[in-house]
Amino acid sequence: MNFRLILVAVILLILQAGLGPIITLGDARPSFLLPFVVYVGLREGSLWGTVAGFVLGLSIDSLGQLPLGMSAVALSTAGFFSARLSKDDPFRLWWPWTVLVLLFAILLEVLRMLLLARANSLPFFPVLFSSGLPSAAATTVLAILWFLSPLHSREDSVR
């Protein structure tokens, strides 16, 4: 894991903690960290993907309103399994990357909505469909933008 990635992680963490509550599309709140963790998992492997997810998850939990450990569970899982599930150069095409991010975004939102629904005595599925899945979709859109942005370089595919 190089310095550039650490720097990007810190920037994204600040963005998520500072702008996350502000940047909303309706009830959808995209996660900046999830695409990054999936990216690290794909680029650096399961070990670093897990560590990145764990550290960033704990950090954002401690800065936000969510219970400590909830984002760490989701992001660690995303970092670990993104490397395990991907086959044959996931950076070359946009859709494997997008599918992976969508999958883990849904996992993260299910956990988050489960907690939210339980804490506020709300029905789970309406909350998931009204807020969780749109958030997952927004996160996936961010991931696609990441794929198209200069932060994602095609050289990454040559490992």
Binding site: L47, F54, M70, A72, V73, S76, T77, L114, R118, A119
Partner: protein, 279 residues
Amino acid sequence: MPAHNRKVSGNIEWTVYLLCMAVSLVLLLTSPKPGVRELKDSTSEIIGVAATPLQFVRKIFNIWLDHDLLRKHAQNLSTENSELRDALIENQRLRGMLNMQERLPFQTVPASVISAVGPALGGQYRISTGALAGVTINSAVITPLGLVGKVIETTDHTSLVQTLVGNSYGVAVMLERTRMRGILRWTGIDRWTLSGLPTGVDVKPGDLVITAGTGAVFPKGLRVGVVTDESSVISTYGESWIVQPFVEFRSVEDVFVIISTGWLEPNAGANDPQIEPNP
């Protein structure tokens, strides 16, 4: 990367992942923030649903164990029930004997049947009381149901009883209703006949046959049996009637031996002519 190194690397990755998950879950489930308690409940519910098949298997296993346990329990209860049934029967028999002993005007000693020999095991009994208890030869032996027989041999502690089965002696009896006297004899397997009654005597089925007390062996009034048929038969002893004794000689377990009839003269009638034995 060599296969071995790849395997070690995979193990490390899994270890780190599981470690991170464990730490995260511990932090999550111990968090004081709202919703965590509910999340725990949800987790418990999810785990409960996931564990339902295991619970089903465990329940079946428990049913199996319970089945074995209950089967053993049922076997024990069956044995215990059998013992209780035996005890009940014995209790009823002993109560009957106790009542009889209190009711009888004779002095008796109780005894148990030790062994049985003779016609289909109802012919002769060895009983658990003897001369030291006052039992003498010709002592009458009875049960609450009726007359069994008489003692034909004694030792200090045991006696040999000849029952009405296969007996070589006749019993002086009389019909309770008409007071007519006669002789009861064993004339074959499960067959007893009453003979010696006058011609034209009034005999009806169900007439009670009791001891007449005229033979100096059996006291008067002991129940013996009933006449089973109105019509008479012709036997070696002339006109006879079939009598069914009250005692089932094959199943006697406990008896009383009459050691004193209470007669003023115990030897009265001892020299009277005895009823002739069966040829």
